[in-house]
């Protein structure tokens, strides 16, 4: 029990540290995580943050919109970092560097009347789309210059749990070879029933009833897994 309590305290402290060091719209750890992180807060402001694992790097690019950028706020910005809002307030350009002691920078945009946002985000003057996370971790764009619609983030929130990473990857592979997956689950089930049989069920007066019920439950679970893996899409 003492060990359990210690683990619990450790997890609690770890959570506090993580929350205190950068748990935002998307989870990332400034100074450890690597890439761009884009999200929308509850007041519809757009956040663009970037971080790297304490290596000297330059993050640059622009964000454009068909609306009007009313206001922008900067977090973790240094003297050498630059940002420029166009005269018509529909495009903003930035160039900011991170280093061993500069963990993260962030731009918060307050935008009115827009239907889309367009991004061109570079790291060390090159493109690494796998490092651009839109709304959630590894939700990456397909093109170097990419566009998202206004309701993109709210649509993302509606994504079902089984399409979230890493579960989506697991379910996709399990669904790729359904016979193997069902056999695997059935085998695990048989072992669990066997353990129950020689421990709990063994002494019961309704021994055979419980055995039959256990296997019926297992067949039901396997059928449920079959339906789940074949009827849903995980990509």
């Amino acid at each position: 029990m003492k060990i359990f309590k210690l683990i619990l305290i450790f997890l609690l402290l770890f959570s506090i540290v993580i929350i205190g060091t950068g748990c935002n719209g998307i989870f990332f750890i400034p100074g450890a995580s690597y890439g761009y992180y884009i999200w929308e807060d509850s007041e519809d402001n757009i956040h663009i943050a970037w971080s790297i694992d304490r290596k000297e790097s330059v993050f640059s690019g622009w964000i454009a919109t068909d609306g009007k950028i009313n206001e922008y706020n900067l977090l973790g910005w240094e003297e050498n970092d630059s940002i420029k809002l166009s005269e018509d307030s529909c495009r903003i350009e930035f160039n900011a560097s991170l280093n061993e002691n500069d963990y993260s920078d962030e731009i918060i945009l307050v935008i009115d009347n827009y239907s889309y946002l367009e991004f061109d985000l570079r790291i060390n003057d090159g493109y690494d789309l796998s490092r651009i996370n839109i709304g959630e971790f590894i939700n990456n764009p397909n093109n170097n210059i990419f566009r998202i619609e206004k309701d993109y983030f709210s649509q993302l929130d509606k994504k079902p749990w089984y399409r979230e990473h890493p579960l989506s990857g697991l379910f996709y592979k399990l669904s790729a070879n359904i016979i193997y997956s069902l056999a695997y689950i059935f085998l695990l089930g048989v072992i669990i029933i066997e353990i129950l049989r020689i421990t709990v069920i063994r002494r019961s007066s309704r021994y055979w009833w419980y055995i039959v019920i256990s296997y019926c439950v297992l067949i039901l679970i396997d059928s449920g897994v079959y339906l789940f893996l074949t009827k849903l899409s995980f990509i």
Binding site: T21, F28, I29, P30, G31, A32, S33, Y34, G35, D53, R54, Y103, S130, R131, F137, I138, H165, P166, L167, S168, G169, L170, K173, L174, A176, N177, Y180, S181, Y184, L187, L188, I191, I192, E194, I195, I198, T199
Partner: protein
């Protein structure tokens, strides 16, 4: 009736006569076996460390490419994997479909292609089934090493192996093949137990040829088995005959020396990794010095019983991981010997769990490859781009200092375990069953 008696005799061979004839113990053994299998099967399809793929890539070069020397340093191990790969690809065409990935020479792209493939869970499971077979053989062999006529204690040994965190982690999460060498070593030890000295040394020689590490216990096995001077003269050459045979084969077939190639690998340098620098070129390799002390200490024991011999095997392997650079799978070598001691000295089992917890931190040494990438078959992109433990630690503190603090604690715990084993040896030699007194003290 004949069929029944046939299965009864098979049962006795598998689980020992004493356990088979005791219904309660037999049921308990079956329960532990099932729980162990459940845990193993849960991990079987999902996790592996990159080295598993490398091992089967070398086997694939033999099976698909006809290259016998794809891993000439581990010729026997490669042959076992090649035969197994040949069998599974003949039975299941799905394995054959992986030949292209397995024959890819670029390690990164072959790994990415492998973990991204749709049937990766099946193939990982099949690759690991070989280790599962040897693991099952080992769990029934290891309980036979000690405690004759004490079936309860044998059952405890079985339980400690089946539910051992190192066994489960190294074979089913890390997926390394050391279990094959351990199986051969256990066979050799069983033969030694029944004083089949030439067979014991011959099988250990085979184990040495398969995986170099059993050579560490070869000297004390010779000291344990030898009764006369003549035995030393015969047993020593037999002990190294496996290595010599592989050397000769390699020299004539591949035109390369296995021994010199092994000595020049970084793995051999691990043995020399802890050293005392003196002046100019003079230095002392600590493990070699300590190893000699252990061997001499064993040599001076008059009454070389089998349990003392096994305790010394545990001391040697514990000493190695205490003071030398090691890979996580090397910890498996000490497990068969330690679990025999746990039955008599419970306190060591707690330290064993502490060792395991510390290993989980020490793993960070080897970076992404042995931490987050182990989980990569589940969702490659997610785990490749997930922030690894080193950058997270580096955000707050030096990762190398952090890991080395835990490494030092690991060394401290392991050295303390050695001391406790050494103390137990003294008790056994003095004829006092202090082990029981110790256990009573803990219970109090």
């Amino acid at each position: 009736m004949r069929v029944k008696s046939f299965f009864r005799s098979i049962g006795k061979v598998i689980v020992t006569k004493e356990i088979f004839e005791n219904k309660i113990l037999l049921r308990l053994l079956y329960k532990y076996f099932l729980i162990g299998m459940l845990i193993r099967l849960i991990f079987l399809p999902f996790f592996f460390q990159r080295d598993l793929l490398s091992t089967y890539q070398r086997a694939a070069q033999t099976v698909f490419g006809g290259n016998l020397g794809s891993d000439f340093q581990q010729f026997i191990m490669n042959s076992i994997h090649s035969i197994y790969l040949f069998i599974i690809k003949s039975i299941l065409p799905i394995v054959g479909e992986y030949s292209e990935i397995l024959l890819q020479t670029d390690t990164w792209s072959s790994w990415v292609n492998f973990i991204s493939s749709e049937n990766v869970f099946i193939v990982i499971s099949l690759f690991k089934v070989l280790y599962l077979i040897f693991d099952i053989l080992c769990m029934f062999l290891v309980m036979r090493l000690l405690f004759d006529d004490e079936p309860e204690k044998r059952l405890k040994v079985f339980k400690l192996w089946v539910l051992n965190p190192f066994v489960i982690f190294i074979l089913y999460i890390f997926a390394r093949h050391d279990i094959i060498g351990i199986f051969l070593t256990l066979v050799a030890l069983l033969l030694a137990k029944y004083k089949r000295k030439y067979w014991a040394i011959f099988v250990l020689a085979l184990a040495v040829a398969a995986r170099f590490f059993p050579i560490m216990i070869l000297p004390i096995l010779i000291f344990y088995l030898a009764d006369k001077k003549k035995d030393y003269i015969i047993l020593f050459p037999v002990g190294i005959s496996g290595l010599i045979a592989v050397e000769i084969f390699s020299y004539f077939y591949f035109g390369r020396s296995v021994i010199f190639s092994l000595i020049n690998t970084q793995h051999f340098d691990y043995i020399l990794s802890s050293k005392l620098e003196l002046v100019i070129h003079d230095r002392i390799f600590i493990f070699i010095a300590v190893y000699i002390i252990i061997i001499l200490s064993y040599l001076h024991i008059r009454k070389k019983t089998f349990d003392i011999f096994l305790n010394y095997c545990a001391i040697i392997y514990l000493m190695y991981v205490s003071i030398c650079y090691f890979h996580p799978q090397y910890l498996l070598w000490v497990v068969p010997f330690l679990i025999l001691i746990f039955v008599r000295k419970k306190v060591l089992y707690r330290y064993h769990w502490v060792q395991f917890a510390l290993l989980m931190v020490i793993l960070i040494y080897w970076g992404d490859l042995v931490t987050k990438f182990v989980l990569a078959p589940i969702d490659p992109k997610y785990f490749i781009y997930l922030t690894g433990p080193i950058p997270i630690i580096n955000r707050f503190y030096s990762p190398s200092k952090f890991v080395n603090i835990f490494r030092s604690v690991f060394t401290g715990v392991s050295l303390w375990m050695i001391y406790l084993i050494y103390k137990e040896n003294k008790n056994i030699l003095s004829g006092n069953s202090i082990v029981d007194i110790n256990n009573n003290l803990i219970e109090k």
